[in-house]
């Protein structure tokens, strides 16, 4: 199998996952609804204090993305488990990493679409004005999402064969996400406040380093976690 063959398989999996999602629509509706609901609940918990809401906006938004994203990862493998498609997928000739990369890209697109809906809702609910450095904020969001989706896709594969996968996935995933969550929230908070201390850059570099480490480790280990 050449790189071109593997890339063709990656594209096939991305197309298949996104087409299935687009047709069923159940996944995106549930995930977006969950994200907005979490933002509302945090808003009620924090009370009507506008300053408190603004200060907590970045943390609440990332937690909303994390909790709702878990639904997306579980669903991504549920599609394979229905009708025994996962076994058929694993029996195609070629490397297992192509399956992981295909699932990763499809989940990344899916979560970015969810974020495109949830982030404007968060800005309105928490009364946050877009700072002048908003393109950097988008960069942080993308970097944080890459780290989150990399680990989410990996652990969803690991838990996919377990009967308790809905419970197992958050238990495995959330502790591993702490560095990504911390870096993303700190960088986002700094950028939303105009980054007066110029500390966002350090958090972004840390976030980028975590993304690379997690991506490489997941690629190397995927073959072993998906085996029966």
């Amino acid at each position: 199998m050449t790189w071109r063959d593997e890339w063709r398989r990656v594209q096939a999996i991305v197309w298949k996952d996104l087409t299935t999602e687009r047709r069923s629509k159940a996944g995106i509706n549930a995930v977006v609804f969950m994200g907005v609901l979490i933002l509302l609940l945090f808003g009620f918990a924090l009370g009507p204090d506008t300053e408190a809401l603004r200060a907590a906006a970045a943390g609440a938004l990332w937690l909303a993305i994390l909790f709702s994203g878990v639904l997306a990862f579980n669903r991504s493998y549920q599609l394979e488990l229905d009708g025994g498609a996962l076994e058929s997928l694993l029996l195609y000739p070629g490397s297992r990493w192509a399956i992981y990369v295909g699932k990763l890209i499809a989940n990344l697109v899916f979560v970015l679409i969810v974020e495109a809906i949830v982030i404007p809702v968060a800005l309105v609910l928490y009364q946050v004005a877009l700072p002048p450095g908003w393109p950097a904020l988008i960069g942080v969001t993308v970097l944080g999402t890459v780290g989150f989706v990399t680990l989410g896709t990996f652990y969803a594969a690991m838990s996919s064969r377990s009967r308790a996968r809905e419970v197992l996935l958050p238990l495995l995933l959330f502790p591993m996400l702490i560095p990504v969550l911390l870096s993303a929230v700190e960088a986002s908070t700094s950028l939303l406040g105009g980054d007066p201390m110029l500390e966002a850059g350090a958090w972004v570099r840390l976030l980028g380093a975590f993304d690379i480490i997690f991506l490489v480790a997941s690629l190397l280990a995927f073959e072993y976690v998906i085996e029966v």
Partner: protein, 290 residues
């Protein structure tokens, strides 16, 4: 037969008729009135009749505390169609899943056309097609889209899809989502996916389930084609009647060991009906418990 063996990975031999580093078509003067004309290199790739389609040596497999296979040893020759029978839980499907590389054996070795299922799984997957219990299809994709996805994963041309759909009788339903299909139609589509592949070893797990008589005939036709091309097939079945005279050999498993392994009785024999009369049959003729 045709010179040295290749690396045996896919069980094929190669023959080189000129030195590899010789320029093609070059003519060199020699002593006297003769010249040596170097002919282009000719490489012949022919199916190797000596390499077994599948070799299973003392294979065991454990699921938790339960042993599904306890030391199975079998060999399937090229062009051979082997039926595998046994009660529920006797290890039939586990055996096929090991040969397909879906699961790894706990112990022992298994090769498909010379390639080890554990050490060379990618090579094995390139020559094996496995029809499982489950359809293995995506409900929200159409029949055609499911096959086009399989084409992309297998690296074959989309042009194979329409004739394959025609052959399994789903050409008219090509644009319909699989969610609307009956169990029999889903089974036909699963078979269609196998036809895209042109496999050398067919592994069929209860292939006649959910098929009407035309579907059963189609399954048998596909098996004959693979056999005719030098391939082999292993078919798990509970009732030999549907296979007709297709089987060359029948292996009976019981509690993870080979109970009997011998030629298939002729169609019409009293033994043709393979409903296992005595579920407590105790004599183990071959194989041993691990």
């Amino acid at each position: 037969m045709f010179g040295r063996h290749g690396d045996g990975v896919d069980g094929q031999k190669t023959k080189t008729r000129a030195k590899p580093d010789t320029p093609v078509g070059e003519s060199t003067p020699t002593q006297g009135a003769y010249s040596t004309i170097r002919l282009p290199t000719v490489t012949l790739r022919i199916p190797d009749r000596d390499v077994a389609a599948a070799t299973i040596t003392n294979v065991t497999r454990r699921f938790g505390r339960r042993w599904a296979l306890r030391g199975v040893t079998l060999s399937i020759g090229p062009g051979e169609v082997v039926g595998v029978e046994g009660h529920n839980g006797s290890g039939k499907s586990t055996l096929l899943r090991i040969l397909s590389t879906a699961i790894k054996p706990t112990g022992g070795e298994a090769q498909v056309f010379g390639a080890d299922v554990v050490r060379q799984p990618t090579t094995v997957r390139g020559v094996v097609a496995f029809l499982t219990h489950y359809p293995g299809l995506y409900d929200d994709l159409t029949a055609e889209e499911n096959l086009r996805f399989a084409c992309r994963m297998l690296g074959v041309d989309f042009g194979r899809v329409p004739p394959v759909l025609e052959r399994v009788g789903l050409a008219r339903e090509a644009g319909e989502t699989v969610r609307t299909f009956s169990a029999g139609m889903q089974r036909r589509l699963s078979l269609a996916r196998l036809l895209l592949q042109r496999p050398r070893l067919l592994l069929l797990d209860e292939p006649y389930n959910n098929f009407d008589p035309a579907g059963i005939a189609l399954v048998n036709e596909v098996v004959r084609e693979v056999r005719g091309a030098g391939g082999a097939a292993m078919i798990v079945l509970h009732d030999r009647h549907s296979a007709g005279d297709l089987l060359d050999r029948v292996v009976r498993l019981k509690q993870g060991v080979v109970l009997t392994d011998g030629p298939a009785p002729a169609v019409g024999d009293a033994q043709t009906s393979t409903r296992l009369a005595d579920p407590h049959e105790s004599t183990l003729i071959a194989g041993g418990a691990a």
